[in-house]
């Protein structure tokens, strides 16, 4: 395994952790409807 492989792995793990944080914590699991409090986010993203 070379240095570039380690860099790639680090990037993938960092991206994955960010995706996990964003989808579970920030987007509240993308759960259905406005009752999940995601509407504010939808609005601000618009």
């Amino acid at each position: 395994m070379g240095f570039s492989d380690i860099i790639w792995m680090g990037l993938i793990i960092a991206g994955t952790l960010y995706l996990l944080y964003r989808s579970v914590w920030k987007k509240k699991g993308h759960c259905a409807g406005c009752d999940s409090q995601t509407c504010e986010l939808k609005k601000s993203n618009r």
Binding site: W8, M9, L19, L20, G29, H30
Partner: protein
């Protein structure tokens, strides 16, 4: 909380007109009783997809839709359904605060024409706010079917409002409604709500209070509708008194209402309620003509059986069983198709792409053994999840779910809750997260917290993939029944835990609540498909986001430290081995099961995804066979999907005869199942799925609980009791079964 929807649907009423540049914005609040069709009306007008269900309490918060109509920008605000504007429930407070503080340009009062008197009670209170009102006399077709004749002209004259008969589900009368709203907004003086006369005693007291407000608090007289404010102060409305920081005593209101109280020998709130009911009843007598002899309606006929005190619960359980059997039978061909595709063409295409970019071998393994095996294992169950959501939506839309809550009312009272608490629990069959948020429809904090603690015991759609793979492996001949047993177990344990909580954390009796039973309706296919999609798309988004993320992380944990030969020695394997002894008495004390359960705390489907990764043959182990061409794969994809659809349709008609998830498994599907069959016994498999049903709520439910209650306390309690309960029940299942010599 609000969201702005742009009108895009060509099927919406508003979109039927050419859009011109907007001149001004008219804010219109949509208010009405629960289940009077407010959300349906807004969806039909603006082409939005607000959640609609044939049961009360679907809209918890106010929501907005903005669109342009004939040069006017209209902002429709969907308020929660309420029976009155008294400040007892959160819905009533949200609705009243909005109307009083925001003072919209007009109110569309959605009135259920089949239930005029009860709906007019709210109308009478809306008129007190002195905001122009347009009444949508909704569900007018059903009223006509019942033989009702409503004199809309007489109603307009009596109330000083514009009355438009509508059928929101068919979009009838909506153009007229919008025109009336625009006209009213352009010329507010054209129709002014009438001041209904509540009788001389009340009116004279109100006049005195109004003059007291004008003299003592002129700024309030400008800010609030005077007549409404006078009534609220006479009623000693706590919410208003706190907000205004004045008390009825400070204004000498007690003096003003002394005669009123003396004459009626009741408190002013009751006197006012009687007066409003009298207005609603009198108006109904004036405008409504019912047929002389009323036949027993279909709803009543069905309810005679569905709500029977002995048959109600068995029928509910039978309906659930039938729903699960149908879910399995309908989704099986599509699930098999999905499995064939993910393990065949999709995997080959991913490998081809990875080969094309000359990715290193570890990255190729990450894609095929991590992403495809992990996410693919979950995607296979998308058809079953959508089928389940379709049938749940059908039961909601038909009005049966409200009956389910009603028949469970007695059981709920035993645990200190009322049937209304069962509605969030039923929503939990789809996903526990919206169910946690739906607890806000309940009256007090005690009910909300207790219901939220019990919601995670309701088996959500995310647990289905785990059940399906295990049931398919061990109980193919009785798939529907085994699945049904899990859901019933969830409900039964919720009742048991409710009893325990009632004796410990939540002492006290359930408050009285009268539950509305809407008429049975056949939901339209369009509405069914839209709401099935709304419910089910969440699982697709999950697969593309955090299930993908966890699959990648699990792959790394299974391959670190780098170069590890045996997955058992990987980081994930090592952690699994630490936890495995705890699960040994439950019959699945192996590191694979322990690791999968731990990964499943993010989302329960991940249990299957992780098993898929653990048990997958590492790339290179498989025999190299001749690869079909891309075009052959595409052709196969299309033809096999068509065949799967035909099989699904056939299964709908033959569902009572066919053996779902039959033993004739195709080879591709046998992969993960055959490994599971060699690792588990039928008994340990049942113990395992029982554990998955009951063990801790997923991370997103934890976040929802934290957000709804402002503390981690309730999640902490849910976590602790569910882990203990899951272990205990799985222990009893496995050890009890072993002792009895079942399924070992």
């Amino acid at each position: 909380m609000s969201v702005e929807f742009k009108v895009q649907s060509s099927e919406s009423v508003a979109a039927g007109f050419s859009l011109r540049s907007a001149k001004k914005t008219v804010t219109v609040a949509v208010a009405g009783n629960p289940n009077s069709g407010k959300s349906t009306l807004i969806n039909a007008i603006a082409g939005t997809r607000l959640h609609v269900g044939n049961w009360p309490g679907v809209t918890v918060e106010k929501k907005e839709a903005v669109f342009e109509y004939e040069g006017t920008r209209i902002r429709l605000v969907d308020l929660p359904g309420v029976y009155s504007l008294s400040p007892y429930t959160q819905e009533e407070i949200i609705t009243r605060d909005y109307l009083v503080h925001e003072m919209p340009d007009a109110i569309i009062n959605v009135v259920d024409a089949t239930n005029l008197e009860r709906n007019l009670y709210l109308t009478v209170q809306l008129l007190e706010l002195e905001i122009p009102v347009v009444m949508a006399l909704n569900i007018y077709d059903e009223a006509e079917k019942k033989g009702y004749a409503i004199d809309a002209k007489a109603m307009e004259e009596a109330l000083g409002v514009t009355v438009v008969p509508t059928v929101a589900t068919r979009k009838n009368g909506l153009y007229e409604l919008l025109k009336a709203v625009i006209k009213l907004a352009d010329h507010p003086a054209s129709r002014h709500p009438k001041k209904l006369n509540y009788g001389e005693d009340i009116e004279s007291a109100a006049r005195i209070v109004e003059s007291l407000i004008q003299d003592g608090y002129p700024s309030l007289a400008e800010k609030y509708p005077q007549r409404w404010l006078a009534f609220k102060l006479m009623e000693k409305d706590d919410h208003v008194q706190n907000e205004l920081t004045i008390t009825s005593d400070a204004l000498s209101i007690e003096e003003a209402v002394r005669h009123l109280k003396k004459a009626h020998e009741e408190d002013v709130e009751s006197i006012m309620a009687d007066a409003r009911y009298a207005q609603a009843a009198g108006l109904t007598r004036e405008v409504l003509k019912r047929p002389e002899l009323r036949k027993m309606e279909l709803t009543e006929k069905i309810d005679k059986i569905a709500l029977n005190r002995f048959l109600g619960i068995p029928l509910f359980l039978a309906a659930m069983w039938f729903m699960f059997k149908l879910t399995f039978d309908v989704s099986k061909p599509l699930g098999d198709w999905m499995n064939t595709m993910t393990s065949g063409p999709f995997k080959r295409w991913a490998e081809a792409v990875v080969g094309l970019i000359h990715a290193p071998s570890w990255m190729s393994s990450l894609v095929t053994d991590g992403v495809i095996a992990g996410v693919g294992s979950v995607l296979v169950f998308v058809p079953v999840i959508f089928a389940m959501m379709f049938f749940i939506t059908f039961l909601e839309g038909s009005g049966y779910m409200a009956r389910a809550a009603f028949v469970m009312d007695r059981a709920m009272h035993a645990i200190g809750l009322h049937g209304k608490s069962f509605i969030p629990m039923l929503l939990g069959f789809g996903c526990n997260v919206p169910a946690i948020y739906a607890t806000r429809t309940l009256e007090n904090q005690r009910d909300k917290a207790l219901t939220a603690l019990l919601v995670p015991l309701m088996s959500c759609g995310a647990r289905l993939p785990v059940y399906v793979i295990f049931i398919g492996a061990f109980f193919p001949a009785h798939a529907g029944t085994v699945l049904w047993s899990l859901y019933v177990m969830g409900i039964a344990l919720a009742i048991v835990m409710g009893l325990i909580f009632k004796k410990t954390l939540f002492k006290g009796e359930a408050p009285m609540f009268i539950m509305e039973l809407p008429p049975y309706r056949m939901p339209s296919m369009r509405s069914l498909l839209i709401h099935t999609w709304e419910k089910g798309k969440h699982f697709l988004i999950k697969a593309g986001t955090y299930i993908l993320a966890v699959s990648i992380l699990v792959w790394f944990l299974l391959n670190l430290p780098w170069g590890v030969e045996n997955k058992k020695d990987s980081y994930l394997g090592q952690v699994g081995q630490v936890a495995a002894p705890v699960l040994k008495p439950l019959g699945f004390g192996n590191w694979e099961a322990a690791s999968s359960l731990m990964a499943g705390v993010i989302a329960k489907e991940i249990v299957v995804g992780t098993m898929g990764e653990i048990y997958v043959k590492t790339t290179g182990e498989e025999k190299k066979t001749e690869q079909p061409a891309f075009t052959d794969d595409l052709k196969e994809l299309g033809t096999s999907f068509g065949a799967a659809l035909v099989d699904s349709a056939k299964n709908v008609f033959s569902t009572l005869k066919i053996t779902s998830l039959s033993a004739e498994e195709d080879e591709q599907r046998a992969g993960l199942k055959s490994v599971i069959q060699s690792t588990f016994t039928p008994l340990s498999a049942y113990a395992f799925i029982t554990f998955v049903l009951l063990y801790m709520p997923c991370v997103v439910v934890a976040i929802a609980m934290r957000q709804e209650f402002g503390t981690w306390k309730w999640f902490g309690i849910a976590f602790a009791y569910q882990m203990a309960l899951a272990w205990l029940v799985a222990f009893v299942v496995y050890q009890g079964g072993t002792l009895l010599g079942i399924g070992g």
